[in-house]
Symmetry: C2
Subunit: 223 residues, 2 copies
């Protein structure tokens, strides 16, 4: 056993979406040999306020030392455990266009307990080729391979027009977490979680901000 989960209260969504950022910063600190850090310093490193950071961490339990700060190694373990990163979660990617290839080779997937174990495409020309060390399989193999390999997350990197069809196949294959890069609303059973990353939306939001340039909320700086 590595780390217990002593405080099983539930963690707000907003906090969950920040935990990975804290985790990354802590990994960086650890690699630089930093062993202990205050909420103020860590907050500055990730661009949030120190009270926000402490409140977030308080949802996981109390792991800091008053007057001192947090132990980097321990905090990493606690956050990892809470995010469920102690378990390996095999990933499949469907759609081997430019984006799919980029994702297949993306190291952020391989690290952090998310190994890419299979790739799929419907184009017979692409099937059988090897991308980033993994052979591309035909869609007909999706259910079988996913079950064999214990896949829990499916990534959709196809055109929006096929994304619903792919989502249906992923669901049939027993996958309950879907990350899609196709800008289309997916309809899935309520027990399936979908996250949409849409590049067009990101640009739209940037464009809006540029138009209505708001004074940025001040970030914390060490006084």
């Amino acid at each position: 056993m590595t780390t217990e989960l002593p405080a099983p209260r539930d963690v707000p969504d907003a906090t969950v979406s920040r935990l990975p950022v804290y985790l990354r910063a802590l990994a960086e600190l650890a690699s630089r040999g930093v062993r202990s850090i205050s909420s103020q310093e860590l907050a500055k490193a990730v661009g949030v306020r120190s009270t926000q950071l402490r409140k977030d961490l308080s949802h996981l339990g109390s792991y800091g030392v008053r007057g001192v700060g947090y132990e980097v190694a321990h905090l990493r373990e606690v956050i990892s455990a809470r995010l469920g990163l102690t378990v390996t979660r095999p990933v499949v990617i469907v759609g081997m266009g430019n984006l799919g290839r980029a994702l297949a080779g993306y190291s952020g997937f391989a690290n952090r307990a998310f190994p890419v174990v299979a790739l799929f495409d419907r184009d017979p020309e692409v099937v059988g080729t090897v991308v980033a060390g993994t052979p591309v399989s035909p869609m007909t193999q999706l259910a079988r391979l996913s079950k064999e390999l214990g896949v829990t997350i499916g990534v959709i990197a196809t055109h929006p027009a096929s994304s619903q069809e792919v989502a249906d196949q992923l669901v049939d294959a027993g996958i309950r977490s879907i990350l899609t890069f196709a800008s289309a609303v997916l309809s899935v059973p309520e027990y399936v979680t979908v996250r949409v990353v849409d590049l067009g939306t990101e640009l739209h939001v940037l464009a809006f901000r540029a138009l209505n340039r708001r004074t940025e909320e001040p970030r914390e700086s060490i006084s």
Copy 2:
């Protein structure tokens, strides 16, 4: 003149992030020849509640007809105008790895008033090659080309280790909106807007949801 902006009140962040989704659904409807739609139908198509949709639209002004619904073409114009999509916003992409190439060829950029006008890489081997119809330029040309081409948005598709350096160069080139795919916190002047898309974070959040499978909030269905 195409569309006026009669209600210049400010639009909440949460609403802004949903407007692109509405816009996409409206484009789809228009292409299918739909001329008018109720908030309930449109809400169902994008996966939000009808009251949310109406409240969002109310921030832009009153454009619906009571007892009838919204005119698709008009609503598209209003949202486009409010998002600033009537102006062309040239984009540059820095980093021609797999992800950079995928983004360069991504049609969601070319459409919607975001033409990719220049690509950059620091590798001399890559400079001079043509990606998706655009030649790759050396970093030394970034400031000059960006100014000449009137670039307003910079996309960072490099490794996290170089992303701060690239961000500095983008800022020096006069760019005030940055979209980065590198999982690192960027420090920029307060007049620059940064949006981070991190694939690792998305997976972490999915993993957490899978672990603490929550009953999804019910989506609207037409009764």
